[in-house]
């Protein structure tokens, strides 16, 4: 029922007549474009041209644009083209929805070598900028803590409790599970590898020292960076997108105090608590494997554990936890506040938040390792 667009050429005196017919609609998009292009070529030869629209069955804005573009391009080539026989509504359409000259989009790509160098420079600069931003954010939080310390009623207890439940209680199952598995894996590998030296009993030391000093905390911090850090960035970022943070500011409320502070405090409480549970889970995993895989009774396991670790071993892990929590919270907050209008920016900042948090957690752990060796702790 739909007839494709077509054109018939004719000569009246010294004028070229192009009689258009059929449906000039977007439904015939490919034919529309081709036929409109074919209007231009023959008419270029000179003389005036008439576009006879009497036979046009249907026309929509795309059709009007295509026909009017042909007219405009002919005019550019010095051929005066005019319309004839158009139905009144189509004449309006040709006028209202006619051809618009477009500026070609600006080329955005610099030569590869230059753009490579400039991108390297940019990321170095951004890294420095991020560090400065993080430190200044941290400074603001410290100053705010000191400022708020004498006023317990200004701490947002409800908000803190809510976030604490989310960050700690609701993370317990996954944290306990992964640390139990890590403990079990380290124990199994320890027994298996040390067996060659007849030293498989020392696998208990491995799980005890490695687990309590490093692994339980690292696994927990990385999990929390992925689970909670991303959530904080997404929440704050989506608020920034929808002007909620601006709304707080005009009410003379400090978004850092209202939004970031409760989350940061909740995180600082949650991470050590979770690390403690992670320690237990890790040891439980080790115990189970040593019992089932190496036939070591739990009593023996616990005695050996007693001989290999001290309270300090356990405390080394726990002391680091609040610092990790602050790092994760600061990075998540900075990235969240930095979100701009688009969904893409939200995604980029959440990704950056998680990647940077995990990276910084590991770097920080390395620094702590050096520090504790230096002070013989």
């Amino acid at each position: 029922m739909s007839v494709g667009p077509s054109v018939v050429r004719d000569v009246e005196g010294d004028e070229l007549v192009l009689s258009l017919s059929g449906d000039w609609t977007v439904a015939n998009s490919a034919a529309l474009e081709a036929t409109a292009d074919s209007l231009i070529e023959p008419a270029r030869k000179g003389g005036d041209a008439i576009l006879d629209l009497a036979g046009v069955n249907r026309m929509d804005t795309a059709g009007a644009w295509a026909i009017d573009r042909a007219r405009a391009e002919l005019a550019e080539a010095g051929v005066r083209a005019s319309y004839r026989g158009a139905r009144s509504e189509y004449a309006v359409l040709l006028k209202e929805a006619g051809y618009q000259p477009i500026e070609p989009p600006k080329p955005t790509h610099a030569p590869t070598a230059i753009s490579l160098l400039s991108e390297i420079g940019e990321s170095v600069y951004t890294a420095g900028h991020d560090l400065a931003e993080g430190v200044s954010f941290f400074g603001e939080m410290v100053a705010m803590t000191v400022r708020l310390l004498p006023f317990p009623h200004r701490w947002r207890w409800t908000s803190m409790t809510y976030h604490l439940e989310n960050y700690s209680l609701r993370s317990v199952p996954i944290i306990v599970l992964i640390n139990f598995l890590v403990g079990a894996i380290v124990m199994q590998q320890g027994i298996f590898q040390l067996n060659a030296f007849g030293a498989s009993a020392y696998a208990v030391n491995l799980v005890g020292v490695l687990g309590l000093r490093e692994l339980a905390l690292l696994m927990t911090a990385i999990m929390i960076a992925g689970r909670t850090g991303s959530a904080i960035t997404a929440e704050i970022g989506s608020m920034a997108m929808h002007e909620e943070i601006d709304a707080l500011r005009v009410m003379a409320l400090d978004p850092l105090e209202v939004l970031i502070m409760p989350r940061l405090v909740a995180l600082v409480i949650a991470l050590p608590a979770l690390t403690f549970l992670a320690d237990l889970a890790e040891l439980a995993g080790g115990l189970l494997v040593s019992w089932l895989y190496a036939g070591m009774t739990p009593i023996v396991f616990i005695t050996r554990l007693h001989n290999s670790i001290t309270t300090d071993t356990f405390l080394v892990g726990l002391i680091k936890a609040p610092f990790m929590a602050i790092t994760i919270g600061i990075i998540a907050g900075v990235e969240g506040m930095d979100v701009r209008g688009s969904a893409e920016s939200l995604g980029a900042n959440v990704t950056a938040s998680v990647v940077k948090s995990i990276f910084m957690v590991i770097v920080l752990d390395g620094l702590f390792a050096m520090f504790f060796s230096a002070v013989n702790y």
Partner: protein, 273 residues
């Protein structure tokens, strides 16, 4: 189909809603609603805030599940569509959402080209050209094409939304409060544009609006939503005669009577008193 000149509003029904029921939990939003949309007309849709105007629009578009009733568009029952028919109907209607609903990670140009790219076979040059034309139609400058939605004002967002809705030259356009947030001059231009498209293309328009000027200027019929039903529908002159208290208050309230030139002057501000 020898003469497809836009026919005057007539009995040709493009969308027909029968016995529509929509509920959220126990709360019935639509309770046996009937509505017809005729080809080539501009139907204005009014109702109190929260009465469910947007819900009705979204239900017709298939975004909100209904509990009962039937919706037919272009003679197809929307419950029984093949994938192919769904695609075709997607090409035949365009929607302007209340907040624009532009894709935030695409530029204005890319936003308008999305439906063309997905549904049509066109060269990039032609798509760019049609985009320029659509921008001109909705009254935006060409340099807006490379902006991102977050860089646009509310009014510009609406216009880009309309340009995107018109990208495929649809037969029906759904407009959800198109003129809210626009200055009176832009709102007037918007009305003119809709009227032009209706006259030249035979465009059918379903418009949820509170803009009394739009209702008077371009709507062929106005439907009133109340208590989950269309409580009144007809020419605006007929609705003005209605005895329904809500309709009376709507059209003859403080804001309505300006049409009759009898609006009371605002009380003077304190410092001028």
């Amino acid at each position: 189909m020898t003469d497809a000149a836009p026919s005057p509003p007539g009995p040709d029904v493009v969308i027909s809603v029968r016995g529509l029921e929509v509920a959220f939990g126990d709360h019935m939003v639509m309770d046996g609603l009937d509505l017809d949309l005729y080809r080539g007309e501009v139907l204005g849709f009014v109702g109190a805030s929260g009465a469910g105007k947007s819900v009705l629009t979204r239900t017709i578009l298939g975004l909100v599940p209904k509990r009962g009733g039937t919706i037919e568009a272009f003679g197809h029952n929307l419950d029984h569509l093949t994938h192919q028919e769904k695609l075709q109907i997607g090409e035949r209607w365009g929607v302007l959402f209340q907040e624009g609903a532009l894709f935030s990670s695409l530029t204005v140009r890319q936003n308008i080209e999305v439906p063309m790219r997905e549904h049509l076979k066109l060269s990039q040059a032609m798509m760019d050209g049609l985009t320029a034309q659509k921008l001109h139609l909705v009254g935006l400058p060409q340099d807006a094409a490379d902006k991102y939605p977050s860089e646009l004002s509310g009014g510009m967002t609406k216009r880009v939304g309309l340009a995107r809705a018109l990208a495929l030259d649809p037969e029906i356009v759904f407009l959800d409060e198109p003129t809210s947030g626009l200055d009176p001059i832009s709102a007037g231009d918007f009305d003119d544009l809709i009227a032009t498209l209706q006259k030249t293309l035979g465009l059918t328009v379903f418009m949820v609006t509170h803009d009394l000027d739009s209702l008077f200027a371009i709507c062929n019929r106005v439907a009133v939503l109340g208590h989950g039903k269309v409580s009144a529908v007809g020419k605006i002159e007929d609705l003005l005669q209605s005895d329904d208290p809500w309709i009376k208050a709507y059209f003859h309230g403080k804001r309505g009577v300006v049409r009759a030139g009898t609006r009371a002057a605002p009380s003077p501000a304190p410092h001028t008193a």
